[in-house]
Every structure is written in C-alpha cells, then in structure tokens.
C-alpha cells in the first residue's frame, strides 16, 4: 500500500488534535478568567448593595430633613392651639358664671316685686268680689216679686195667641156657613170681605189691649229692679274708696320699684362690666403669654432650623454620600476593567473559534483538491494500463492465430508452441497484472476516504441541529402535556383576581401595621397597632368620618327601604302610565354622579329652587350644603333621589317573578291581604331583597363622589365619610399606613353588614 504518495489521513487527524488541544487550553484559560470575575462579583456584591442602600438612605435623609422640621413646627402649632382652646373654654365658663349671677340677682328683685304685687292684686280681687256680692244683694226678694208679674205677661201672650186663633177659626167657620147656605160665589166673596174686616177690627183691639198691659207690667218689673235697699250707696262708696287706695298704692309701688330696679340694674351692670374687664384683661394677658411663648418657640425653632443649619445638615449627608460615592465608583471601575478584559477575551475566543472553522474548511478543501489531482493521475495510469493490456491481448490474439495456422502441423506446431512459450516471456506479464490490481484497490480506498470526509462534514451540521431541536422539544412537551387547557382559558380571570383583589388585600393587611416610606418600601418600619391607636385616639377627623358614615348609611337605607318598597308596590303594573312613570323615576340612575351632584349644588344653593319653593309655604329654608347640621342629610337625600328608580325596578322585577298561581291558591283559601303580603310576597321576595339590601349597604358605605364634589368634606368636617378620609389621608396627605388602617376598618364594616344581611334573608324557599 503506497500511502506516502497520497494524502495521509493520520496527518489530518494529528493536525486536528493539535488544534483541538490549543482550543481546549484557550477555553480553560477563558473559563478560569470568568470564574475569577464571578468570584469577584460574588465577593463584592454585598458591598455594592450596602453602598446603594446607604446612598438611598443619605439622599432620603437629606430630603426628609424638611419634613421633620415641618413636623416640629406642626407640633408647636398644635400645642399652641390646645392651650388656646383650653383658655377659651375657661374664659367662656367664667363669662357664663358672671352672666348668670347678674341674671339671678335681677330675677330676685323682680320676684320680690311680684310677691308684693300679687298680694295687692289678691286684695283687689277680694274687694271686687265684695262689690259684686253687693250688686247681687241690691234687692234680695226681687225674683219672687217679679215672678207674679212675669206669669201675668205669659198669660197675656197666651191670650194674644188665642185671639189670633179665634180669628182664623171664625173666618173658616163663617166661610163654611156661607158654603152651606149655598150663596153664589161672587156674593160670598163680598160677604167674606166684610166679615173679615169686622173680625180683624175685633182682633186688633184685643191685641192692642194686651200690648198695653204687657208694657205696663214690664215697666213695673223695671221699677222693681231699679229699687235698691237703703245702705247700698254707702257701702259701694266705701268699697270704691278702698279700691282706689289700693290702686294708688300699687302705682306708687310700681314707680318706686322702677326706680329701685333701674338703680340696681345700673349697679349690677357696672359690677358685670368690671368683672368682664378683669376677665378680658386676664384672658388677653394669658393669650399674649401663650402667643409670646409660641412666637419664642417659633423663633427658637427657626433659629435651630435656619436655612444655613439645614444646609449644613444636608451637606453632611451629602458629604457622606460623596465618600460613599467615591468608594462605589472605585469598585465600579474595577468591575468595569474586569468587564473590559472579559470582552477582549471573548473577542479573542470568538476569533479563535472562527479560525478553527476556517481551518476545518481549508483542510476539507485541500483534501478535495488533492483527491481530485490524484484521481486524474490514477485515471491516466489506468488508461496506460488498459493500453498495455490491450496490446498484450492483441499479441495473444496474434499468437493464437499463429497457433491456428500452425495447427496443421501438430508436431511442428507443438514444437513451435513450445518454442513460442519459451520465446514470449509469459512470466513477465504477471507483475503487470498485479500492478493493475493494486491501482484499482488504491483508487477505491481514496474514494472511500473522500466519502468519509464528506459524511463527517454533514454529520457535524446535523448533530448541531438535532441537539437544538431535542432541547426545545423536551422543554415544551414536558410543560404542555401536564397542563389542563382550562388554565389557558382562565388565565385572565386569575390575573385579575390576583392583582385587583388578593394582592391588595394582603398588602393592606400587612401595610396597616407599618409606617410606610413611599420612596423606598424596604425602609418602612413595623409599628404594630399604633396606626389604629393613633386614628382612634387622636384623629378627630377620622372619628367624625366614622360616625358620619354610620349616620349616612342609616339615613339612606331607612329612607330607601321605606320609599322603594312602597313605590314598587304602587307602580307594579304594566300599563302605559305606570311604565312612563317608571322611566321617569329611573332617569337619575343613568346619569353620572358628577353631573347629578353638580346639578344639586345649583338646586340646593341658598337662593336655589328648593329654598324658593319653601318660601312659598312661608318657611325659611336652611343653607343645606353650607350648614353643619344639614350638609350630610342633604347629600344623603340627593343620593336617595338618584337611587330610588334602580331599586324600585329591581323590586318590581322580583315581584313579577313570583308565580301567579301562588296568589290564586291563597285566594282559594280566603286569606286576607295582609297575611298574603307577609306570608307569601315577603318570603318569596327574600332573594331580591337580600340583593337590594347588600347593594344598598355597600354603596352607602363607599360613597365618595357626591361628597367630594358637593361639600368637599363639608363645613368643619361635618360630612367627611370614611372613603373620603382614606382618599385624603392616602392620596393627598401621603399618610399611607393610617389610610390603610382606615381602609381595613371600612372593609370590616362592610363585611359585618353583608354577613348580617345574609343571615337575615337566609331562608330556604320552596314553591
């Protein structure tokens, strides 16, 4: 096998091994360097973190100095306020005492006057009673004396009546007589006229007599009435004199008392003014003292926290920060240099890799070229060999022809053949044939080597691809095969639940026990229940808002539950008018809360429509939103006005959902209307009612927009609600911990009421 002439496979493999070894060495170097870099990072990670934290800390301190100073000022202010409030309370108390003493003394004087006046009045009344008795006893037997006369008058009246009756009877009688005598009509009338005139004359005479007699009798009675017993005038005069004396006394007393009262009043006012002046001077002095103290404190604080000092403090922190920064920069420089080195190394590595690739390509190409050239050589050789063979074959043919020619003479031919065999060196051909075989074998080997090389190349590429594919497939299939497809469907829901309900709840529950730093959450400190304690004990706004929410909820829910139930029962029919009224009532619920609250600011303003309407009935309306008593009530009225339509429609839908045959069955059993209402409609309405009540409670607890727009928390915080307080504390005041504590209280309130609602309405319904 002559391998020396052709390319040596061992050589190629040796070169490859060398290159690979070099690469391995380089790789090892590279890895060592990387390991060193990583170790360096690992060792200095904590230092870097510390530097970062310290940087944040210093910067935050520098920022927070301002806030601290502000807090100090606020504390001083609060102290001053408290002192002033105490002073004012004392001042008001003393003022009221002075006023009351003045009032009491004046009242005592008036009381004595009233006692005297009462005594005089009593005497006067007694005298008047005596006078009346005297007047009654003018003539003690008057009644018995006049009685006979009055009887006579009565009799005369009876006589008069009798005369009238007689006249009528006579007329009728005479008429009847004439009728019996059958007098003709005209004559009868004439006669009747005559008779009537006669009878009338008689009657008039009688009546006149009676009248005169009665007049006389009345005059007698008057005379009797006017007659008086003899000492009457004297007695009357005496009593009148006494009355006059008493009245004079009364007037004198009144004048005297007036003078006395005025003098006393002046004296008391003087005393009052003196005491007031004293009080005022005392109050002013103390006030000025407190104010001076406050001013001194403020000056002190300002001196302590003057801008220069603040700057110095800030600069201290900044200096610390600078030192820190320098260290940090040094470390970073080292890291940067390391990274530069790393980059260079990687570049080198990549270059080497490329070189290797190029080398591989070169070797393959060289091999190919060599193989091609050798193929040519071999082909030429083969041709030569074939030519040789052909020549030999020709020769053999020629020989065989000669043999054939020489067949005739066998002996000669055999001899000749023997000679010919000896002459043509047949043995010389054997090595030639051997050579030919060798060449063929060599050629085959070269082709095999070439194929091997090509296969190697393809195999390298295929390996790379297959490895990548297998890795990806393993990752994907492992995860996908075990997962239910439902989880892809519910992914958004899970995301929503996590982000908007679960996470906030957890954060709220945790964050309420921390004092939170907005800039850096890591620096917030655990403080336990102090947030809750502060809110409940010191924050008057929060206390007010808590009470206000409860009041607001009670007002709205009471009003709504009464109004909506009655309205729903009233409007629960489906005629045209009912339907139109339902749409009218429902309109406010569709409009936004902003629009409606702006509308009602206009309606409830002091000169607004509602006050104008009240003026028509003669009532002076309150200031509604601008007054402390009515602000919360008016807001709740507006929200009730907005929500009525919604709840009415809900309840109507519930009422329509009750099947009609239930009522028919009740009718068959002759149940009363009240019993059907309480034993059929209410329990069957329970699910809708529970929905309605839960909605009402939640909505009334989280009311925000109307209060924010209409009252802004109201005059003197009379209408701040919990949600508004949370917004103020959290979004505007940046007091996150307390705001979250408030939010937790709100959620607790809502949960309590919803659970209560569920327990009230939880009855199993079957029909």
């Amino acid at each position: 096998m002559s391998n020396s002439k052709f390319i040596n496979q061992n050589e190629i493999s040796e070169i490859r091994v060398e290159i690979n070894n070099a690469l391995k060495n380089i790789k090892n170097n590279f890895l060592e360097k990387e390991n060193f870099r990583r170790r360096f990072y690992f060792e200095h990670e904590e230092e870097l973190k510390q530097y970062k934290q310290q940087k944040d800390l210093y910067l935050a301190h520098a920022k927070n100095i301002k806030f601290e100073v502000k807090e100090l000022f606020n504390k001083a202010k609060l102290k001053n306020k408290k002192q002033l409030d105490d002073l004012e309370i004392d001042y008001k108390f003393e003022l009221e005492e002075i006023k009351q003493t003045k009032k009491l003394s004046l009242e005592e004087i008036t009381l004595t006057e009233r006692k005297v006046l009462k005594e005089i009045d009593n005497q006067l009344t007694l005298l008047n009673i005596e006078k009346k008795t005297l007047e009654q006893q003018k003539r003690p037997n008057l009644y018995q004396e006049t009685k006979a006369l009055e009887d006579k008058i009565d009799r005369l009246y009876l006589k008069k009546e009798a005369a009238k009756r007689n006249y009528k009877a006579n007329v009728i009688h005479k008429n009847a007589l004439l009728h019996e005598q059958k007098v003709p009509f005209l004559e009868r009338i004439k006669k009747m006229k005559q008779i009537k005139a006669e009878l009338k004359a008689i009657k008039v005479n009688e009546i006149n007599n009676i009248k005169t007699e009665t007049i006389n009798l009345k005059a007698e009675i008057k005379k009797l009435q006017n007659e008086v017993y003899p000492d009457y005038a004297k007695d009357l005069a005496k009593i009148n004199e006494r009355i006059k004396n008493l009245e004079n006394k009364k007037e004198d007393f009144a004048i005297k008392f007036k003078n006395h009262y005025e003098t006393e009043k002046v004296r008391l006012e003087k005393e009052y003014n003196e005491s007031l002046n004293k009080l005022n001077t005392l109050y002013n002095e103390e006030k000025s003292k407190i104010n001076n103290n406050y001013a001194l404190k403020l000056e002190q604080l300002q001196k302590e926290n003057s801008k220069e000092i603040l700057k110095q403090r800030k600069e201290e922190f900044y200096l610390l920060h600078k030192n820190n920064k320098a260290k940090y920069k040094e470390l970073k420089k080292v890291i940067k240099s390391l990274e530069k080195q790393y980059k260079e190394d990687t570049k080198q590595f990549i270059k080497l890799k490329n070189d290797e690739k190029k080398l591989n390509h070169k070797i393959i190409k060289d091999n190919e070229n060599i193989l091609k050239s050798q193929k040519h050589l071999l082909n030429e050789k083969l041709k030569n060999m074939e030519d040789m063979r052909n020549k030999i074959i020709n020769e053999i043919i020629i020989v065989s022809k000669e043999q054939l020619n020489l067949e005739v003479n066998k002996k000669e031919l055999i001899n000749n053949y023997k000679n010919f065999k000896e002459k043509n060196n047949y043995e010389k051909l054997v090595p030639l044939f051997d050579n030919y075989d060798k060449l063929v074998i060599e050629n085959n080997e070269i082709i095999a080597i070439y194929n091997c090389l090509v296969n190697e190349k393809e195999l390298i590429y295929e390996d790379k691809r297959s490895v990548n594919r297998i890795l990806i497939d393993q990752k994907v299939t492992k995860r996908l095969k075990n997962v239910n497809t439902a989880y892809f469907f519910i992914a958004p829901a899970v995301f929503g639940a996590l982000v908007f309900t679960v996470l906030p709840l957890v954060f709220m529950l945790v964050g309420a026990f921390f004092s939170i730093d907005a800039t850096n959450l890591g620096r917030s400190q655990f403080v336990g229940f102090t947030n809750f304690y502060d809110i409940f004990m010191f924050d008057t706004q929060f206390q007010k808002s808590l009470v206000n929410t409860l009041i607001y909820a009670l007002i709205t829910i009471g009003l709504l539950s009464i109004v909506t139930l009655s309205m729903a029962a009233w409007l629960n029919r489906s005629t045209k008018v009912h339907n139109a009224v339902q749409t009218m009532v429902f309109t406010p619920h569709i409009a936004s809360l902003v629009a409606i609250s702006i509308l009602w600011i206009a309606l409830l303003s002091p000169q607004g429509i509602i006050n104008q309407l009240l003026k028509v009935f003669g009532i002076e309306g309150p200031l509604w939103l601008l007054q402390e008593n009515t602000s919360l009530l008016s807001v709740s009225m507006v929200t009730v006005w907005k929500d009525i339509g919604y709840y009415v429609l809900l309840i109507i839908a519930g009422l329509q959902g009750i099947p009609a045959y239930v009522y028919e069955a009740a009718k068959l059993d002759k149940a009363k209307k009240s019993t059907t209402f309480f034993k059929i409609t209410v329990p069957l309405l329970a699910p809708t009612l529970s929905f309605v009540f839960v909605n009402k409670f939640i909505n009334s607890f989280k009311v925000f927009a109307p209060i924010e727009i209409m009252t802004n928390g109201g005059p003197m915080g009379s209408s701040t609600v919990l949600s508004y307080w949370i917004y103020k504390a959290g979004r505007i005041g940046f007091n996150y911990g307390q705001a979250m504590a408030g939010a937790i209280i709100l959620t607790i309130l809502i949960t309590i009421f919803t659970v209560l609602n569920h327990k009230v309405f939880k009855r199993e319904i079957q029909y």
Partner: protein
C-alpha cells in the same frame, strides 16, 4: 266598559258565594234588585275617579325626577344675568348657544371627550377576549379551583375600590402603569362582575347540546365560539350597555390613577369647570358642560329606554307595556317584509 261589566259579574258571584257559605260548592246567582245595581254603578264610578287621581299623583311624582334635567337644559341656554337668579320656570326668552362654545373652550372638552371615547372604545373592544373564555371555563370545564370564582367575587364585592386603591397605586407606580391607558383599562378588562354574569348565562344552556357537539369532536374553543356565544347574544347587549355607562361615568378610578391631565376623562373636566376658586361659578357654562357630558347617555336612554332599564338591573326578567323591539330588529323585519312582498308578487305574476 267590558272590564266594568266583568268586575260586576265577579262581585255578584262573590256575594252569592258569601250568602250561601254552607253550600258553597253550588253557587247560585241571584238576580240584582235595582237598588243593588245602582250601588254597584256608583262604586264603579268612584273607582274610576280614584284611578284618575292616582294617575295624576303618579305623574307628578315622576315629574319631580325629570324636572331637574329639563331645568338644567334651560339653564344652559340662559344668559349670565338670567342664570344667577335661579328662576325655576322652564320658559326661555332667548337661547344663548354660545355657552356651549365657551364651555367647550374653557374645559378643553375636545381633548377630554376624545379621551372618554378612547377609554370606552378600548374597554368595549378588548374586554370580551378576556372575559368570555374564562367565563366559559368556569361554567363548562373541569379543573382544580373551579368554585373559587364565587368566593373571589364575594371578596371583591366586600373590598371596595375606595379601600384598595393604595396598594394598587403602589403596584402601578412600581410597574410604571400610572398615567397609561393599559393601567386605566386593566381592571375592567378582567372584571369579576362580567365573568360572573357570563358564567351564569353559560350555565343555563342545556348540557345535551354541548355533549352532542363533543360527540362530533368539537374542541372547547369551537363549542364556545360557534354554539354558546350565539345562544346568549342578548347578554352581550346588556353587558355592553352596562360597561359603556359605567365607563362613561367613571370618576373615582380615573381621578386616583392619573397624575397629569393627559388621560383625564369628561367627568373630571366638568368637575374642573365648577372648581373655580374665589369666584361664583358661571352656572350657565357649568350646566352646558354638564349637558355635553350627559348627552350621549340620555340620548341612548330616550331611544331605548326599556332596553337600558333591563340592562341596568342586570338583565332580570321584567315586563313593560307597549314595549318596542330594538331598532336593528325592527329595521331587519321591515326589509325582510318588503322582500317577501316582492316575492309574493312575483309568484302571482
């Protein structure tokens, strides 16, 4: 009249049954004496009068709810001097349309209106891609934690947005979602309310239909899109209306989650008209802004009141008298009728 006669008849039967209580199974109809007949007539007349009075009271009550809106419209067209007096009458002497222009310019309504529209369109367009599949999964598919949705919804109801805005604000500020459309949209895209509503309606569809589809080797996605969604199409309408109204009116969420004025919507702008400090607000302009803000929803309410009412109470069943069918359906019917008539004519020709 027919009703009255029937009423009379029923009353007569009642009286008869009351008289013959012992033999109540064989009611005997008594003939009416003239006195009884007169009494019944008088009763019916009194009932009629009471009915009219009842209607009048009802209409006045309804007008108390409608009057403020009309007054607002009138106020928005008054001049400054007329508007100050708060005159309660609804009569206009002159219409000042310039108020609307002024309101538009003062509150930069063009920008904020665009913001509101974008907000509504984004939510309405994107929400169903998230809500419907999850609702379907909760209604029809089996997996662990299938019943958690109810509890999460309950917790979400008890946790009002007014309480949880601080944690969400923190989270948003960490991620950088404050003052961005995605942050504004996100909660309404994956709202528990919508998922719960759709789930309830998916559950009402009979199981046999789904099973037959499964036998034909339909996947979950195909069942959802080609069977379930067309069957509950009315729910889409109600949900669409509800979300549109709530988005158009949303005030708290937008105010809390935006710091700049880049993304603020109409209600916030109208609120800004009122917040002129130190000066009495010009009521005619404020009312004009209010009208602009309310107009789309009120117009929708005027043209489809029964539809809106049904949607707002969560798609419950309720009867309305003389209810018209929705506009699209009516138009479709008209067109189809015309075509039918043409076909019939062609038949005879």
């Amino acid at each position: 009249m027919k009703e009255n006669l029937e009423l009379e008849f029923h009353e007569v039967i009642k009286e008869a049954s009351m008289i013959h209580e012992n033999t109540s199974y064989s009611p005997v109809i008594q003939e009416l004496t003239p006195k009884q007949y007169k009494a019944i007539k008088v009763k019916n007349r009194i009932k009629y009068v009471l009915k009219i009075i009842n209607y009048l009271i009802m209409i006045t009550v309804g007008l108390t709810f409608l009057y403020p809106f009309l007054w607002m419209l009138v106020m928005s067209l008054r001049s400054y001097n007329d508007a100050i007096s708060f005159n309660p009458s609804l009569i206009l002497t002159e219409a000042h349309w310039g108020n609307y222009v002024q309101a538009w310019k003062k509150a930069k309504m063009g920008k904020y209106l665009g913001n509101s529209v974008i907000y509504a369109v984004l939510v309405l367009g994107l929400q169903y891609f998230f809500i419907v599949p999850s609702a379907y999964a909760f209604a029809r598919m089996e997996f662990k934690g299938n019943k958690a949705l109810f509890w999460i919804k309950q917790i979400g109801m008890m946790l009002p947005g007014e309480a949880t805005f601080i944690p969400i604000y923190f989270l948003y500020s960490k991620i950088g979602l404050i003052d961005s459309w995605t942050g504004l949209i996100l909660p309404s895209l994956v709202s528990m309310f919508g998922i719960y509503m759709f789930m309830n309606h998916f559950k009402t569809i009979p199981n046999e239909i789904v099973e037959s589809a499964k036998l034909d080797k339909a996947g979950h996605f195909k069942i959802m899109l080609k069977i379930m969604v067309p069957m509950i199409f009315p729910v889409f309408v109600t949900h669409f209306l509800l979300t549109f109204i709530s988005n158009w009116n949303s005030y708290y969420w937008v105010m809390v989650m935006t710091n700049t004025e880049k993304l603020k919507t109409l209600p916030v702008a109208v609120r800004g008209l009122l917040r002129v400090e130190g000066v009495v607000p010009e009521w005619q302009i404020v009312m004009a802004g209010n009208v602009i803000q309310l107009a789309p929803i009120l117009l929708m309410y005027i043209f489809g009141s029964s539809q809106m009412k049904r949607a707002m109470i969560g798609g419950r069943k309720i009867k309305f008298a003389n209810e018209k069918e929705p506009l699209l359906k009516r138009a479709f019917k008209k067109v189809s009728r015309k075509f039918r008539s043409v076909e019939e004519k062609n038949k005879y020709i």
